[in-house]
């Protein structure tokens, strides 16, 4: 640094630093405006006594924990929180089993495999509200494809009231969401299976390991990190499902399919109780953010590489 060229080199370096900051600053500004500010404001809102009139002002009267108390004392909110857990774990279970089975299928090479892989991602690309509407059509009692299949197979005697029976409607959102998430699991697990070295698989075959043993003792341990990331991302995607439920059941019948997201929407935008909506939002946010340390740890590869960047 104390060579004669130290001066100009330092200024070139400073110029580069400045350029880096300029390239990055719009993104930082955006993150502050579109993520940090709304999250902080949402916390403030949850402690305020809001009414439609207070929306026009920056702050409303302090409410302490009233909004949280109201939310946790309201059976519909409590049910929505509990149901969000059931929905999330049910979805992940179905998505993982089906997605893993399909990933294993695709990893065997067979005619048409490439085409099948490219078509399997179709559900992932649809607008979510459209997926909800599609399943509303399929689950109709009269003229719905699902009832028609069940009737034709003789599994039921009369049309099942999927969308009208509060005990059955939950299954419609679960089935639709599993359908929606399977391609994500399939593609990620498939690409992980591709990374398992062929030599290892061959060695296991020579050693006389059966397919089930190979899967359980060899393949699953190797791809475990990807399974963990996939389940974690699946969890955070599923707790925030909204459009699908609105399009399929609208949270009904009799609030039997309300999740945290849909009930929070209802509190804020239907009855204009933004304070309670924000309180429920914070429950959801906490649920999602619980995962963030684990997610950051699992993604530590992408954080570490940053130190290796050129200066």
């Amino acid at each position: 640094m104390n060579t004669p060229t130290g001066g100009p080199r330092l200024s070139a370096r400073r110029k580069q630093q400045l350029a880096g900051w300029l390239f990055l600053s719009p993104a930082i500004a955006y993150l502050l405006f579109a993520f940090a500010l709304p999250i902080i404001y949402n916390v403030m809102l949850s402690f305020e006594q809001t009414s439609p009139a207070t929306i026009a002002h920056f702050t409303a009267p302090w409410a302490g924990l009233d909004n949280y108390r109201a939310v946790f004392n309201d059976p519909t909110s409590r049910d929505a929180i509990l149901r969000t857990f059931e929905f999330t774990f049910g979805s992940l279970l179905g998505q993982f089993i089906i997605g893993f089975a399909l990933a294993l299928l695709f990893s065997l090479r067979f005619p048409g495999g490439t085409l099948a892989r490219s078509l399997i991602i179709v559900p992932w690309l649809l607008p979510l509200i459209v997926t909800g509407v599609i399943f509303r059509f399929l689950f109709q009692a009269e003229g719905g494809a699902i009832n028609q299949v069940l009737l034709n197979l003789g599994l039921v005697d009369s049309p099942v009231q999927w969308l009208n029976d509060p005990h059955l409607a939950f299954w419609t959102i679960l089935v639709a969401n599993i359908w929606l998430g399977v391609p994500f699991f399939t593609i990620l697990l498939y690409s992980a299976l591709q990374d398992v070295p062929v030599e290892i698989k061959e060695a296991a075959v020579i050693d006389g390991a059966g397919p089930w043993q190979r899967l359980r003792l060899l393949i699953v341990p190797i791809i475990l990190p990807v399974i963990e990331v996939t389940l974690l991302l699946g969890f955070v995607f599923t707790v925030k499902v909204f459009d699908l439920v609105i399009g399929l059941t609208g949270g009904g019948p009799a609030n039997s399919t309300q999740l945290i997201t849909t009930w929070s929407y209802n509190l804020s935008f239907q009855v204009f109780n933004f304070g309670q909506g924000a309180a429920l939002n914070n429950v959801l946010l906490a649920l999602a953010l619980i995962c963030s340390p684990l997610y950051l740890w699992l993604s530590r590869g992408s954080l570490e590489t940053s130190q290796g960047g050129a200066g």
Partner: protein, 289 residues
């Protein structure tokens, strides 16, 4: 010979299993495409037809002209304007996301900045934040700064889907560019901006396309921000249009499905034109490192 190679019949069994799985996965989409060509009478007959029963374009006419041919149900308004609105939102989200994300990703991979780890962590966490949390606050914040019911407001909100994803995917790509490339340009006297614009962006074309496809689909398919930030007068994208068709007492399924099929078109076009970009984006965005 590879010991893992399957016998011929077994391979065909796999093909058969894959066809069965695909049939289940694609059936819902097939069902609304068929449904969108059915007459209202067929749709209200209480029977589901596996093939078009009496194929008609009436539903598309209803949707595009805004007048219902059916007597059993009414629909509100035409979707033609909504399609244009959704295209504008999709394009706006794409452009905005690229303008913010491409330079940021470059800075986060090729410049040694003190904030890199913090910003990358923030981007990873941002992908986790549920949209309803942002929507509730943004509605009120937009209320003060007069962005409710405007295109810029909606695009700012829709970019929350696209920007964190875009920066992370592009950053992973920029790591693959050799630093010598930029150093050579600098030695030749190119400014940082010129290096970025003339050397880096052209090389990043495929990653930019991947990100653009996802940003467009995010803006086009957004429902939650449209539902909260637009107040139902003036701007109405097709996702809201479909929702308002459903809101009627008796749903005109023909019109709903014709609009749903129209809403699927961009995904179909992208899948056909940019398939390899979509597959690479799906994996790149999710598992890194």
């Amino acid at each position: 010979m590879n010991r893992l190679d399957r016998s011929r019949p077994l391979r065909w069994l796999c093909t058969f299993a894959a066809i069965a799985a695909l049939a289940l996965v694609l059936f819902p989409v097939y069902a609304i495409i068929v449904g969108s060509f059915e007459s209202t009478e067929t749709l209200f007959s209480g029977t589901f037809y596996w093939l078009p029963h009496q194929a008609t374009l009436d539903n598309y006419r209803t949707v595009l002209q805004g007048t219902s041919a059916s007597t059993q149900a009414t629909v509100s308004g035409s979707q033609a304007g909504h399609i244009l609105t959704s295209l504008l939102i999709g394009l706006g989200t794409t452009i905005f996301a690229l303008v913010v994300a491409v330079p940021a990703a470059y800075a986060l991979s090729k410049y040694r900045l003190r904030v890199t780890v913090i910003v990358v962590s923030a981007l990873l966490v941002a992908q986790i934040v549920p949209s309803i949390v942002l929507a509730t606050s943004l509605f009120i914040i937009f209320h003060w700064i007069h962005l409710v019911n405007t295109y810029p407001g909606l695009i700012l909100a829709d970019a929350t889907y696209a920007i964190p994803f875009a920066i992370l995917v592009l950053r992973a790509f920029f790591f693959s560019l050799p630093n010598e490339l930029m150093d050579a340009a600098r030695v030749d006297g190119a400014s940082e901006w010129t290096t970025f614009r003339r050397i880096v962006i052209p090389l990043a074309r495929s990653a930019v396309i991947t990100v653009a496809v996802f940003a467009f689909l995010a803006g086009w398919g957004d429902f939650i921000f449209a539902l909260t930030i637009l107040n139902g007068s003036g701007i109405e994208p097709i996702t809201l249009g479909i929702y308002s068709y459903l809101g009627n007492y008796s749903t005109d399924w023909g019109a709903v499905m014709a609009s749903a099929v129209i809403a699927l078109l961009p995904a179909g076009v992208m899948l056909a034109l940019a398939q390899r970009y979509i597959a690479s984006g799906l994996t790149a965005g999710s598992v890194k490192g």
